[in-house]
Amino acid sequence: MLSPAESEALLLSLRVSLVGVGCALPFALAVALLLSRVRFPGRSLAEALCYLPLVLPPVVVGYLFLILLGTHEPVGKWLVDTLGVRFAFSWTGAALTSGIITFPLQLRAMRLALESQDRGLAEAAATLGAGAVDRLWNITLPLALPGILAGVITAFAASLGEFGAIITFVSNIPGETRTLPLAIYSALQTPGGEVEAARLCGISIALALVGVSLAELMGRRFRAAYER
């Protein structure tokens, strides 16, 4: 059904997005909690900074990573030497890029969920003897779960389509950084590759549909669970 190159691109896309969004998730949640629950000086600045990846051109983000994390740049060199982590021209770099680019999408959904939550419920839990961590774990997060999942799914879907930042930072290496969008781009650059491009587009659309239906299904599950 799928050619080896196609399944390679599909699996790589899934891996890059899963790892990227998955690693960004705890950070997005922590920042969402911080922004929605704690007042601190420089809050507006921190907020603006968090939403920067959403408004910057992806190419700029990719370029910034290139000059920051390249193997010959100070930070990138330090990461390779001390932690053994190489981002440049590697699928991990693609994952990092995806995670950062879609970070604002996760953050936004989670913040909305946390801010629209009835604070009275956590207060009630406090009067029943639940401490701060207890309340976070048993009241705040479970109630925000639909929002958290919505954020993750949106970020994941957007991450699957990331092109500019990935190609700028980690280039277009088959089997390493050639995700679906990059594979489509490559096919279009090849004479007679239109059919291949169309097939890859079909895979992308199918993937998007599965994602959207999954999100819808989960949403319905939650509503049903709360109203039982």
Partner: protein, 361 residues
């Protein structure tokens, strides 16, 4: 065994500056119109609000003292709270909600759980989600959840305000049963005189963030100086069913006489509270003859207070206080003044037979 509260907190639109000290026993009602500061006081006692200045001590144990930077956080205060909006956790079943505080109190008393479920009639609701409960059921679950945390003090912040009259009537008996069967002291916030009259032992009247009056419920409700603060003014006093007469009336005895009321379907010996609205008490210089009213009480005038075109007359009959609201013209015509003897005429039908018919006090 006392509750001492003194708070000062400046909000954008109003200033709370209230202090009171009550016995930690029975039901203390915080009574006042919306915006009087009732809920703020309760939030401060619960530890949900950190006031700008204040001191709160329960039985001498200080939980808040801004001067000495003492602030016990809410989870360590052991104050049970029942909020107007119930605040049940929507992602948990009724049973999990009920056990939330019980588990965190470090006890696993299943007999206690069963007792509360029984007391509040929650058996059939245990597996349901809060979204599927009626307003009255939610209130009962919230009450049970707070009780199962075995608090030192139960704070009820307008627990019935969101309910219609029928639901209220459904919950009030549970609250009365709780008051009478447990030793748990309660602070009950309300702006409804009927709830206060039925439940409270002690009343603290709040007005514009200040304490306007305080005392036993029977004294406060019939205090003519506090009349302007009470939307439905009238005396409340304890009474007991004496007997049911052949003419269809029931005789109630109280400290100072007897009162005939329409038939009450309660056994002789049942204790209850009687409420007489000030507007319903007529005054007469002499015993009126051939009159439809069934009750004529010999009383003494203790005070008179003029207010607008009417006058509030404070009366004493035995050990209880009564109050009568008459026109200024009537006051002058009868030449009523303190220390005089006067007859209070009370129609049986104005004594509300519903009121406290279930209160076993």
């Amino acid at each position: 065994m006392t509750i001492e509260v003194s708070l000062t907190h400046r909000f954008a639109s109003f200033v709370l500056d209230a202090a009171f000290r009550v016995e930690r026993r029975g039901v203390t009602a915080l009574f006042g119109p919306s915006g009087a500061g009732k809920s703020t006081i309760v939030a401060a006692i619960a530890g949900l609000l950190h006031p700008q200045r204040g001191r709160i001590a329960i039985d001498g144990h200080v939980v808040l003292d801004t001067a000495n930077h003492i602030f016990t956080p809410a989870p360590a205060r052991h104050m049970g709270c029942v909020f107007q909006d119930a605040r049940l956790f929507p992602h948990m079943s009724v049973e999990t909600n009920l056990r939330f505080g019980l588990r965190r109190s470090g006890r696993t008393a299943s007999s206690e759980f069963a007792a509360i479920v029984e007391l509040l009639g929650l058996e059939s609701l245990l597996s349901r989600r809060p979204a599927r409960l009626s307003g009255g059921e939610k209130s009962r679950v919230a009450l049970g959840r707070a009780l199962l945390a075995s608090p030192d003090l139960l704070l009820l912040d307008e627990p019935l305000a969101a309910l219609d009259a029928a639901r209220k009537a459904e919950i009030l008996p549970y609250l009365e049963r709780l008051r009478d069967s447990s030793r748990l002291p309660m602070i009950y916030v309300t702006h409804a005189v009927d709830e206060m009259a039925r439940l409270a032992d002690t009343v603290i009247l709040l007005r514009d963030g200040r304490v306007a009056g305080q005392g036993p419920v029977f004294d406060v409700l019939a205090d003519i100086e506090l009349g302007p603060f009470l939307p439905a003014f009238g005396a409340v006093f304890p009474a007991m069913v004496v007997c049911h007469r052949d003419d269809g009336l029931t005789e109630l005895g109280f400290d100072g006489g007897a009162l005939l009321v329409p038939r009450l379907y309660r056994a002789a010996g049942t204790r209850l509270r009687v409420r007489l609205r000030a507007e319903d008490v007529l005054l007469a210089r002499e015993i009126p003859m051939a009159i439809s009213a069934n009750n004529i009480l010999a009383t003494q005038v203790t005070a008179v207070r003029l207010s607008g075109d009417h006058a509030d007359v404070q009366l004493r009959s035995g050990g209880i206080r009564l109050v009568s609201r008459i026109t200024r013209a009537s006051l002058q015509r009868l030449d009523i003044a303190p220390f005089q003897s006067i007859y209070a005429v009370i129609k049986s039908v104005t004594v509300d037979p519903q009121l406290d018919a279930l209160a076993m006090r």
